[in-house]
């Protein structure tokens, strides 16, 4: 049994009468790519916000390496090694790409304002280290040479990658990616898929992924959880999810499973 990096136990989050997330259980094994899918409004991002500390769940626990972290401030959760990106890119737009990454490094540095005034040895050491680190992170996500561009002036695909670079600066053990391929073309999506796999393989980061592009999800996920109306309706490997009738109905409506089965058999016949 591999180690569980993060675990959600019966997590619920309500907005007024709306049960955005309803008693969801999750267990993410260390070193896996774990996808959360579901129709729009299923509560995927709300669950993310609970994990990263933006929301405090009404009930339930979120255990990170066995310790509860729900209700902690977001900066504490970040300092524990959980980084995230956002559904609609939220960079510090008026700052340069380098500065964005340097802010991501905030937790890894200790020098304070007094060090900055005196240029103490700690400041000098950390400053040059952080500059090099930021450049190598930009290089890692393929943004070398763009470090001095304002983040808001970068093309959309680069902004997405810059957001990942900022998240990686925190040296996360768990990375939450909220629809990373949204608005990307096929080539960019393929590139990003490979990139996510690299994150897991080279940096040994566990990844939770919210994604609508089924090609990406089915291609790289180790396990998938499906949410619908805030409730978990299925969990399993990509193959299991693809053939799960409840999942198909959630996406296609009642009768969808039968419809899907019909198309599948038709395709099988054509192939034969």
């Amino acid at each position: 049994m591999t180690e569980i990096i993060i675990e959600a136990v019966k997590v619920s989050k309500y907005f007024g009468g709306l049960k955005a997330v309803n008693e969801v259980d999750l267990q993410i094994p260390k070193g896996s790519i774990y996808s959360i899918i579901g129709p729009n409004g299923a509560g995927k991002t709300t669950l993310f916000n609970c994990i990263s500390g933006f929301y405090i769940p009404e009930t339930g626990d979120i255990l990170y390496y066995g310790t509860p972290i729900q209700g902690m401030p977001t900066n504490f959760i970040a300092s524990q090694g959980i980084s995230r990106t956002y559904q609609n890119v939220r960079l510090f737009g008026n700052l340069t790409a380098m500065e964005n990454v340097l802010i991501g490094l905030h937790n890894k540095l200790r020098s304070n304002w007094l060090d900055a005034i005196m240029h103490s040895p700690r400041f000098t050491r950390e400053n040059s280290w952080s500059m090099e680190e930021a450049v190598s992170l930009l290089d890692f996500v393929g943004l070398k040479g763009y470090g001095d561009f304002l983040a808001s002036n970068l093309p959309y695909g680069m902004q997405r990658r810059l957001e990942i670079a900022r998240a990686l600066a925190n040296k996360p053990r768990l990375l939450l990616l909220d629809e990373p391929t949204a608005g990307m073309n096929i080539q960019e999506t393929t590139d990003l898929t490979h990139f996510i796999q690299r994150l897991r393989d080279e940096l040994e980061i566990s990844i939770i992924l919210i994604e609508h592009d089924m090609k990406v999800v089915m291609g790289i996920s180790d396990r998938i959880t499906v949410l619908d109306y805030g409730t978990k309706i299925a969990e399993g490997s990509p193959d299991e999810i693809q053939s799960n009738p409840r999942v198909i109905e959630a996406y296609l409506g009642p009768g969808g499973a039968a419809l899907a089965e019909k198309y599948r058999s038709q395709r099988r016949k054509n192939n034969a």
């Binding site: 340069t96 900055a116 190598s136 040479g145 001095d148 960019e188 990003l192």
Partner: protein
């Protein structure tokens, strides 16, 4: 010549005519003529009326402006000239009608100064060029003529040939500059910055001793506003907290120095330097106390609360309740002057003190801005939620920004009180806060050169414009409006630093950005 020509010409002419009437009603024509005569080097006594020829110069300029603006961009040359003519004629007509009324007032000796204070007989007489009845016709003729002239000028200056000529001059200037920088030896290029600073230092050392106490006073005020501006910029520009009550923190510095250093009301004589330190500390405490309850507020709400804070402090200082403690509305007089190595301070030493304080503030600002702390502040300004989720302790850094900014404000206040040898509640009104806010915004947020320029423009200019007396604020307001249209980001907008170079040291050769495009994975 068509309908459109007549319409544009007469519209503009009408507008300029009305503006002219307005200017006469507020007596601006006298003012303008005085200014022109001053520029041309004639010595005009205060309150005396200028000569008519200067009045004519003013009218010619005005008429040409009217003709110029009546000309549209498109259309043939004759059309344009005609537009200028119509513009000038309409202006002339409006002004002449107005002149007719004034002439009647003059003839019947009706004194309307009860209603229009500026409209004296002498003023009317000058407006009619001293020609009385003939003046009306002269005005009409003058405006018609200058309207055509203005139109011709517009035709000439907007033509392709002139545009090409200007372009040519621009390129040759650029080439020349390029050639000069190329021809300079590498050493000069490398140390050019330091040479510039050295020259600036020499200038700053020489000027205060040379240019008299009035200028020292004016530029001391500018310097104090630079320090205040830096303080506010840390709160507003770096950490994004909309602070309007900086006058309160300024007051804390000023009152600390005043109370600890004057015979009345407490008789404490701590000396300037220790009390200045206390002033800075008091301002920091003030910033901290203000910061604690407002941490959760953002934007306009924060502005309203800090505005209230500023007013509360001023009203407290004014109140009977604290009269025993702070001297009440009369303020604190006879603040003891500082000494340095046994030498008493005069206006020159204050100028040096302010220059040093300014330099130290700028130095500290740059050091903090280009650090982990400064970047954390900037990220809070951009997006506090994301900043916190990236690992920044938002509340702590916001408080820190308030405290550091307050320290600068306290420093400025302490120097201000000692220099004036007096401070009272009226030195710390809402206007002070708003002035500092405008210094930062007009100059350019997050830009030190901008703040210095802004202080000069907003604090230095009004003092230097004092010669224009009543029109000081008018000119000043016009300048502000003009500036906001031309440079909405401030006089000297900030730019973000280039950092990538710094981190490139340990890495291999640079990749060309173009070559790198599309390499998201490799």
């Amino acid at each position: 010549m068509n309908k459109e020509t007549i319409r544009t010409g007469s519209q503009k002419g009408l507008l300029f005519g009305i503006v002219m009437i307005f200017l006469v009603l507020i007596n601006f024509h006298i003012m303008a003529a005085t200014m022109i005569s001053k520029v041309l080097g004639t010595n005009v006594l205060r309150g005396a009326f200028p000569e008519v020829r200067f009045m004519i110069i003013f009218l010619v300029i005005f008429g040409m402006w009217a003709g110029w603006s009546a000309v549209r961009r498109e259309g043939s040359t004759t059309n344009k000239l005609f537009e200028g003519l119509i513009g000038g004629m309409t202006t002339g007509l409006v002004v002449a009608l107005f002149g007719l009324i004034l002439f009647f007032l003059l003839e019947t000796q009706t004194d309307v100064r009860r209603y229009l204070t500026a409209l004296s007989f002498a003023s009317i007489d000058i407006f009619l060029l001293g020609l009385r009845g003939m003046g009306i016709l002269t005005l009409f003729g003058l405006f018609t003529l200058t309207g055509v002239l203005g139109g011709a000028l517009a035709v000439g200056l907007r033509s392709q040939a002139v545009a090409n000529f200007i372009k040519k001059i621009k390129t040759s200037i650029r080439n020349l500059r390029q050639r000069i920088t190329d021809s300079l030896p590498d050493n000069v290029k490398k140390y050019g910055k330091y040479i510039f600073y050295l020259l600036l230092l020499v200038l700053l050392l020489l000027l205060p001793a040379r240019w008299g106490s009035y200028n020292n006073f004016v530029f001391g005020m500018v310097g104090i506003y630079v320090i205040l501006g830096i303080g506010l910029n840390i709160m507003l520009g770096l950490s994004g907290q909309f602070m309007i009550g900086i006058a309160a923190l300024f007051a804390m510095g000023a009152y600390s120095v005043a109370l600890l250093n004057s015979p009345f009301p407490h008789g404490l004589m701590w000396g300037f330097w220790p009390s200045l330190a206390v002033g800075v500390v008091m301002a920091v405490i003030g910033g901290l106390l203000l910061g604690l309850p407002i941490m959760r507020l953002r934007g306009d709400y924060l502005g309203i609360v800090t505005l209230g804070f500023g007013e509360i402090i001023r009203i407290l200082l004014n109140s009977d309740l604290l009269t025993d403690l702070t001297g009440g509305p009369r303020g604190i007089q006879n603040i003891q002057q500082p000494t340095f190595l046994g030498m008493p301070f005069n206006d020159v030493s204050y100028a040096y003190l302010i220059i040093i304080a300014m330099a130290v503030s700028i130095f500290l600002y740059y050091r903090i801005e280009n650090s982990r702390t400064g970047r954390a502040w900037l990220s809070i300004k951009e997006d506090a939620l994301v900043s916190q989720a990236t690992g920044v302790d938002v509340q702590k850094y916001k408080l820190l920004a308030l405290c550091v900014g307050a320290a600068f404000a306290g420093l400025a206040g302490g120097i201000f009180a000692a220099r004036n040898q007096f401070t009272g509640p009226n030195d710390h009104t809402l206007m002070v806060s708003i002035n500092v806010l405008s210094v930062v915004i007009v100059g350019g947020i997050n830009s030190i050169p901008g703040i210095i320029l802004g202080s000069f423009a907003l604090r230095g200019l009004p003092e230097l414009l004092r010669e224009l007396e009543t029109y000081r604020l008018l000119v000043f307001g016009a300048l502000l409006v003009f500036m906001m249209i031309v440079r909405p980001e401030g006089l000297w907008p900030a730019s973000r630093p280039d950092l990538e170079e710094k981190g490139n040291t340990g890495l291999k050769e640079d990749l060309d950005p173009e070559e790198n495009e599309g390499r998201s994975d490799d």
